[in-house]
Amino acid sequence: MTEPAKSKTIRVTVDGIEYTRDVEARTLLVRFIREALNHTGTHFGCDTGHCGSCSVIVDGKVVKSCMVLAVQADGADIETVEGLANPDGSLHPIQQAFSQYHALQCGFCTPGVLMAAKYLLETNPHPNEEEIRRGIKGNLCRCTGYVNIVRAIQSLANEEEVRV
């Protein structure tokens, strides 16, 4: 068993790229992703677990990365908004839907909302409106009033063939 330590070497995979880094035990996962790995697509909003803009998917489960220590993610496979689009720049179906339905205005919350939407559709491919609203309950958007976000997700929920 390892002994208690102020820092630890961790290995994580972020959007398909594997990293090994020393990290202080007190470092939040969001700060690690943004500042140590320079993946700044994931936003750091309220820092109190309320706004959800830092949402990422860790080993298949969406979490708020400001509410997890980086050391706790040791060995994890992490998906962020930066991994959604294809390498050629073409957008992920969820991103396309957000564009088509104008599901963002300032865009600050969007990286988190997209990951919550991805998780929702992975765990429930055909959510109804109520399920969509419950699915994005952990994400605050102060621009849209959620109407277009719900429409965008609904458009994917209705398509049997869409793979997310």
Partner: protein
């Protein structure tokens, strides 16, 4: 505002035994499970530890076992795992409903049953319902295992009866008996299920002819700990549980029992007034579920 955590040490033991040993050996060590409350406490520096012992990956804390009369649910089971447990759906369906309402998917993916109980936040869903259904808490320390009934586990605001070096390892949840049902109705800020002003919980067992045989009614947010409304329970026993019976029973409510806080979310007066309203709704829900025989 960037909230930096105070410098601390971290260790992730590989076994429950090691975790218990570290907890008793290390000075000022705390347990980190899902962290959905603790990380914020550390950020705000309301409290702190020199060392965090990460128990979130311990398999021993993840099991859900079905016993003859109760379910043994590991303290490290997350809300999301509980929501998807067939065993819990079958034997205490109300827990699946209640846990599914907690906060949001992100919190449910990390937050654990044990963490929530040990934090004992008076605004949370689990303490009242777990008290109402007669949960027994299994604690492990260097001196062995101790079983603590819910009525003794939740001591006061953010306090449990766990001693130094003791950790919660499992919750023993009685299986729902036949002709029984549970109810849980919170009054939460903005109806968000995030912060309860008060919460009513009830469990009821009906006699074969349909009258109330056993009933437990609990409220949180009206005192420093979940409290049972025993005078109301006594008033209900043996009745048919009709609205007239409930009127009479709730008129027996001992208001002296209530010592609600007065804060920005609700005045003490409002909380006191809402106690009979929300506990009665919980009772009605429990009655409905008991009459139906199964939860939907």
């Amino acid at each position: 505002m960037a909230l930096l955590l105070r410098e601390l040490e971290y260790v992730r033991p590989d076994s429950l035994e090691d975790a218990v040993r570290l907890l008793s050996e290390l000075p000022d060590a705390g347990l980190l499970a899902g962290g959905q409350s603790l990380i914020n406490v550390l950020k705000m520096r309301i409290g702190g530890y020199s060392t965090l012992i990460d128990i979130s990956r311990l398999r021993e804390l993840k099991a859900i076992e079905v016993g003859e009369k109760s379910l043994r649910v590991g303290a490290g089971v997350t809300y999301d795992e509980l929501m998807h447990s067939m065993e819990v759906s079958l034997h205490r369906p109300t827990l699946v409903d209640v846990v599914g309402r907690i906060a949001d998917p992100q919190v449910r993916n990390r937050g654990t049953l044990g963490g929530n109980c040990c934090y004992n936040d008076p605004t949370c869903h689990l303490p009242p319902i777990l008290t109402a259904i007669g949960t027994v808490f299994e604690a492990r320390g260097s001196h062995g295992t101790r079983m603590i009934p819910a009525s003794e586990f939740f001591v006061s605001y953010y306090q449990t009866s766990l001693g130094p070096g003791e950790m919660l390892v499992a919750l023993h949840v009685p299986k729902l008996k036949s002709r029984s049902g549970d109810g849980f109705v919170p009054l939460s800020v903005g109806g968000t299920d995030v912060l309860n002003i008060i919460a009513g919980a009830a469990t009821v067992t009906l006699a074969e002819e349909g009258g109330i045989e056993e009933v437990v009614i609990v409220v949180t947010g009206a005192s420093e700990r979940p409290i049972r409304l025993e005078s109301v329970e006594e008033g209900l026993k043996g009745t048919a549980g009709q609205p007239d019976d409930a009127d009479r029973a709730f008129s027996l409510l001992d208001l002296a029992l209530l010592d609600p806080p007065d804060d920005v979310h609700a005045s003490a007066e409002y909380r006191r007034d809402m106690v009979p309203v929300f506990t009665r709704r919980a009772l009605e829900q429990a009655m409905k579920n008991a009459r139906r025989g199964i939860h939907d």
